[in-house]
Subunit: 191 residues, 4 copies
C-alpha cells in the first residue's frame, strides 16, 4: 500500500489545526496597544502549540520518509494520532482564555500525553512492519526523547495543581528538547 | 484521466471536515472540570463522526488505490459523496448541542444514509469503468459491509423516534463493523 | 516550470472554500424539524454554490491536465481566479440569510461574473503558452459554454431588480449546463 | 531529504490562511448596498493581504523549484516563516475593523517585517545548502527586491504614527513591486 495519501492527509489535517488555532486570537475591540494585552497569554500558548504541532509534523515527516510501505493498522494508528492532535486547538484556547489556570493546564498535559502515546503506537506499528529496515530502526533508535516526553507529561498533569507554572515549564522543556537539532539522527538518515 | 488530483482534492475536503468539527467544541467559560461536563455529549458525537469520516477516508483510499483511471462521471460521483460528507459537521453539532434529541439523531442518520448511498454510487461507477480489473472487483467483493451499513441507517432513522439510543447504538455498530480489520480484503489487495 | 504545486495549491483553496461555506449553516437552537425551516434558503444556495465550485474545480482539473508547463503570468491569473472564488462563501451567506433579496442576488452574479472572466483570462494565458498543443486547443474549443455563462451572468445582474427568481433561474441554468456531461470534449481528451 | 512534503505542507497552510481571512468579511445584517459600505475598508485590506500571501506563495514556489534537497534547519526555517504568515489574518482583521487606525497599521507592518525576515532566513539556509547550485544563486541574485521590502516595512512602522496612509502606501508599493513580472529572473530560471 502506498504511503503518499497517508502523508498528504496528515499534512492537510496538521496544516489546518496549526492555522485554526490562530482563530482563537480574536480581533480585539480597541485600536491601541492596550487592546492587545489580554491576548498575551493566548498568544504565548499559541506559540507553544504551534511549535508542538510543528514538532509532530517534523517527526512524522522524518519517520514516514524512512518508511517503505503501510498497512491497515498503520492507517488507523495514524488516524488515532490525528484525533488527539485535533484536540490541541481546543485545549490551547481553554488554557489561553483562563490565564493558565490549573485545570486547563492539566488537561493540556492530558491531550499532549495521549498525542505522545498515540505517536509511540504509530511508531511501533511502523517499526514492526519494517523489521529488516535498519535505516528506520536506527532513525528511531532507543527513542530516549520520546520516553522523556511521555515522562514529563505524566509529571506535569498532577503538578498543575501544585503550581501551573511547573507544568508550563515542563511543556516548554519538552518542546525545546525536540527543537534542538539532533545531528546524530540526521547523519544516520543521510548515510 | 489521472486520479492524482481527485485523491488530493478529496483528501483536502475530508481533512478540513474532520478538523472543522472540533470548532463545535467551543472553549467553555469556567476553568474547572465542571465546565467541561456540558461538552461531554458534543465530545462523544465528535468521536463518532471523526471515526466515521476516518472510515470514509480509509475506504476511499483503498478503492482509489485499486483504480487505474477515472472519467467525468466518477469525478461528479466523488463530488456528490463529498457533498453529503460536508453536512456531517452540521448534523454532528446539532445532535451534540441537543443531547441526542430524536429529530437531530434521525437527521444524522439521513445524512449518513445519503453518504453511504453516494459512496455506493461512486463504487459502482468505478467498478463499471474497470470491468476487467479483477483486483478491484475482489477488493469490493459482494460489499456485505456496505449493504449492511445502508440497512442499519434505514432502520435507525425511524427508530430515533422510538428511542434515540437505539439509533445511536446502530451508528456505533456500523462504525465498529468497519473499524475491525478485514484481513481477507487486505490479503487480496496485497497479492 | 512545474504545474504540480499550482494544482495542489488550487485544490487546497477550492477544498477549503467548499467546506467553509457549510459553516454558514449554523446549528439551530431548537431540536425539531421546524428549527431547520429557516435554514432552507441557506441550504439551497449552499447546494448551488457547492455545485458551482465543483464545476470550477472540475474544469480547472481538465484544463490543467492538458497543460504541459506554466509561467509567471499563469500563476497570477490562477491567483486572480482564486481571489474571486474566495468571495463565493461571503455572497452565498449574504444571499441565503436574506432570503434571496435583490441586492445580494445581484452581487452573487457580480462575483460569479468576475470568477468566469478570470477563468477565461487564465484559459487564454494557458492556450497562448501552448500554441502548438492541439490537444488543449481542441479541449477548449470555441468555449461556447464559457461565453454563454458570461452572457447569463451579465443578464442576471440587472434582472435581479426585476425579479430575483429570474436571476436565480439563470444561475441554476448555468450550473446545469456545465453538469450535463459533454461527451464530445471527453472523447477528444481521451484520444 | 525530499522536498515534496515541505511544499505540500506549506501549500496547505498558505491556502488555509488565504481563505480564513475571508471569514473576517462577516455577512452583514441588511440586504442593500449600504450594508456593504462598512465592509469596504475590511475588503480593501483583504485584497492587500490576499496579494501579499499570494506573493509569498509565488516566491516560495520559485525558490523551492530551484532547490534540490532540504535539511532539518530548512524545515524549521520554513515553519518559522509559516508562523509569521499565520498572524496575517489576525492583523488584517484588526486593521480592517478599525478603519486603518495607527496602531493596527503599525502592527501589520511588524508582522510583515518579521515574515520578510523569516523568508530571508529561509532563503539563506537554502542557498547555504546548495553552494554549488548556480541556478538557485542566479534566481536569488542580489535580492534587491527582498532588501527593499525589508527597508519599506522598517520605515512604515514608525510612519504609521505620522499618518497611517504613508504606511499603507508603502505596503501597497511593496506588493506592486513583487507583482510586476521580473522577466530577468524568469528567463534565468528557464535557461
Amino acid at each position: 500500500m502506498d504511503k503518499g495519501r497517508l502523508e498528504a492527509f496528515s499534512d492537510g489535517v496538521i496544516a489546518i489545526l496549526i492555522t485554526i488555532m490562530v482563530l482563537e486570537l480574536r480581533v480585539p475591540q480597541g485600536a491601541d496597544l492596550a487592546a492587545l494585552r489580554p491576548l498575551l497569554p493566548i498568544f504565548l500558548i499559541y506559540v507553544l502549540s504551534f511549535v508542538n504541532l510543528g514538532i509532530y509534523w517534523n517527526n512524522h515527516h522524518h519517520m514516514l520518509a524512512a518508511t517503505d510501505r503501510i498497512n491497515g493498522k498503520i492507517l488507523w494508528a495514524n488516524m488515532h494520532l490525528l484525533f488527539w492532535l485535533s484536540l490541541v486547538p481546543f485545549v490551547t484556547g481553554w488554557m489561553g482564555e483562563n490565564n493558565f489556570a490549573s485545570v486547563p493546564t492539566a488537561i493540556y498535559g492530558v491531550v499532549m500525553l495521549f498525542a505522545a502515546i498515540s505517536y509511540t503506537i504509530l511508531q511501533t506499528m511502523i517499526v514492526r512492519e519494517h523489521e529488516a529496515n535498519a535505516r528506520l530502526a536506527a532513525a528511531v533508535g532507543k527513542d530516549v526523547k520520546g520516553k522523556l516526553s511521555l515522562f514529563c507529561y505524566i509529571l506535569a498533569i498532577p503538578l498543575a495543581f501544585v503550581h501551573q507554572f511547573i507544568s508550563n515549564g515542563l511543556y516548554v522543556f519538552v518542546a525545546l528538547m525536540w527543537l534542538i537539532p539532533d545531528r546524530r539522527i540526521e547523519s544516520k538518515l543521510n548515510k
